[in-house]
Amino acid sequence: MKISREDVVRVAELAYLDLSETELETYRAQIDEILEYIGKLNELDTGNIEPMAQVLTDDQTGDATLRDDVVVPCSIAAEVLKQAPDPEPPFFRVPKVIER
């Protein structure tokens, strides 16, 4: 077994994800099978290989790196706040964070 029930509980905690008992067991079994399959990567010796985080090389990006850091007016704040479940303009309201 690659992944235990405790592993799934711990990972769900890290991801702030409520899972039911049924979900815990279903995902554990399915992810176990997937990790078993992923294990085939160990057939490859990658000791001297540089990890690849993204595909663009310097000659492909050319001068396309970052745009100039210029402040531009942006007037969508009110519209953005309208999408919030509990807005208190100009703030987003959340449950109390600090315990007393």
């Binding site: 992944i3 592993d7 799934v8 711990r10 990972v11 769900a12 890290l14 991801a15 702030y16 994800l17 409520d18 899972l19 039911s20 979900e23 279903t26 995902y27 399915q30 992810i31 099978e33 997937i34 990790l35 399959y37 992923i38 085939k40 990567l41 160990n42 057939e43 490859l44 990658t46 290989i49 540089e50 990890p51 690849m52 985080a53 993204q54 595909v55 663009l56 492909q60 990006t61 050319g62 001068d63 396309a64 790196t65 970052l66 745009r67 969508i76 519209e79 953005v80 999408q83 919030a84 479940p85 509990d86 987003f92 959340v94 449950p95 109390k96 964070v97």
Partner: protein
């Protein structure tokens, strides 16, 4: 109204005043309202915006001014692309009522090029899936076989075009989500190189893999839409300044003498015999058109699925952290902040998304990072090297798009790993960042379409468009 309207056909109809853009738009909405209840390709229609754009096009015609490249062309947009003022759900309950305050660059460019946006198309939740059955708003039916899946995750965008409910559409492709539904619905479908099209306003799944690209009824129209959306955008630092060729002209260049690589690693076990038969006939057709087949090896192909599902889920677990019930989307109340996060995410995400968040968090977590995530990044480098080596010897690589034709609804939903394995021919190019196109290559038993996939070197879109166009013109769809 004919089913397979083309961009040029629309231009002729509009400029000769046989039809107005407003009439055309009305025709499409009538057709969508009649057929969408069965197909479920559209989640939301945008008549207000569509008619405003149609009227603009009609006033250009009335003034005798030239039409822009996609003038009056009715298009559909996958629901993971932000559209100002139009609900954008990503196929998820967690964004049920979300209305973006801005347009994705690709959407804005479509409209600048004259296209009429009809609405938003169904997809697997957050683009995670290969069958469109992971949408919180119901599965999409394949218009060519209504008891079968259209493929995924851009199933709605593929089905809309295949059913004649849009002339072209935008999808997104992370591991095959444009090319595979294109193949299964029997229409051309393309992802450009990573960096070719700005991802600004694309709601992220896996940032190092996500790409936006077109579906249409012809390779010419795919080329036209790609040309309209491609190019540098200051709002996406990964969009490159590489010049955008005139793809609709490039497609007419001769393909005689081009070397096409046939990777024998792709023709191993697991391929449906009907698919194999059609793709072999497709390769024969390319030979008759003057292409030179070259036997090549891509030795890390067999490791691509494992690598992909490490990298894509890791990036997804990070990208989807933003759905926390604070700034947009669903909130499930709880007295504590963390309790609110947990309940919101538990209730808002569907099964496939939760499974991938758990897997992605696991491969990034302390103690497992090196064994999984870092290992995946290293094998990704090997897969990219396979492509670079191959393109030393050949101009393009030819493979099937999918090992199987469209499968029955519900056939694979119980077994995620089996569903993942169907991505075998598409994920390689995703990991390597190269452009890929799927073009129709016959139908099994006269009904189920097969797709032929062509990969080109990075920023070699013109080459694979030329090949696909010549293949299509020579009757590739009827093999």
């Amino acid at each position: 109204m004919k089913k397979n309207l083309t961009i040029d056909g629309i231009k002729h109809a509009l400029t000769s005043k046989r039809l107005s853009a407003r009439e055309l738009t009305t025709d499409f909405f009538i057709k969508i309202n009649a057929r969408n209840p069965q197909i479920n390709a559209y989640l939301e229609l945008s008549p207000e915006r569509a008619y405003a754009q149609a009227d603009k096009i009609d006033s250009l015609v009335a003034a005798g001014k030239p039409l822009p490249p996609l003038g009056g062309v009715p298009v559909a947009v996958k629901d993971v692309l932000s559209t100002r003022g139009i609900t954008t759900t990503c196929g998820s309950k967690i964004l049920r009522n979300y209305v973006p305050p801005y347009d994705a660059t690709a959407v804005a460019r479509l409209e600048e090029a004259g296209a009429i946006i009809l609405g938003k198309t169904n997809c697997d939740e957050f683009a995670m899936g290969s069958s469109n059955e992971n949408s919180a708003y119901g599965a999409v039916k394949n218009p060519v076989a209504m008891d079968r899946v259209p493929g995924g995750s851009s199933g709605g965008s593929a089905a809309a075009v295949a059913a004649g409910l849009a002339v072209a559409s935008l999808g997104t492709d992370t591991g095959g989500s444009i090319r595979q539904p294109g193949a299964l619905c029997g229409i051309p479908a393309m992802m450009g190189s990573y960096g070719r099209v700005s991802r600004y306003g694309l709601i992220a799944f896996a940032s190092s893999l996500d790409r936006i690209g077109p579906f249409a009824n012809s390779v010419h129209d795919v080329a036209a839409v790609l040309g309209a959306i491609a190019g540098r955008d200051p709002n996406d630092s990964t969009s490159t300044t590489a010049p955008v060729p005139a793809y609709t002209e490039e497609i007419n260049k001769p393909i005689n003498g081009l070397r096409i690589g046939i990777p024998r690693d792709y023709f191993a076990e697991g391929m449906d015999s009907g698919v194999r038969d059609k793709v072999e006939k497709g390769i024969e057709l390319l030979k008759r058109l003057g292409c030179k087949p070259v036997d090549i090896r891509m030795p890390h192909t067999d490791y691509a699925i494992a690598t992909y599902y490490i990298i894509a889920t890791a990036e997804a677990s990070s990208n989807l952290a933003r759905y926390d019930g604070v700034r947009y989307g669903l909130r499930v109340d709880d007295p504590t902040l963390v309790g609110m996060y947990r309940k919101t995410r538990g209730a808002g995400f569907g099964a496939e998304v939760k499974r991938r968040i758990v897997l992605g968090t696991y491969v990034l977590s302390a103690g497992y990072y090196d064994a999984y995530y870092l290992k995946g990044q290293k094998v990704r480098a090997l897969i990219a090297q396979d492509f670079r080596d191959a393109f030393q010897k050949v101009d393009a690589i030819v493979t099937p798009t999918s090992p199987i034709p469209a499968f029955k609804l519900g056939e694979k939903t119980g077994d995620p790993l089996q569903m993942y394995l169907a991505d075998i021919y598409t994920v390689t190019g995703s990991l390597a960042g190269v452009p890929g196109i799927s073009v129709p290559c016959g139908k099994i038993c006269g009904t189920l379409p097969v797709g032929l996939q062509l990969f080109g070197p990075a920023f070699g879109e013109s080459r694979i468009l030329q090949l696909a166009h010549a293949f299509e013109q020579a009757g590739g769809a009827d093999l």
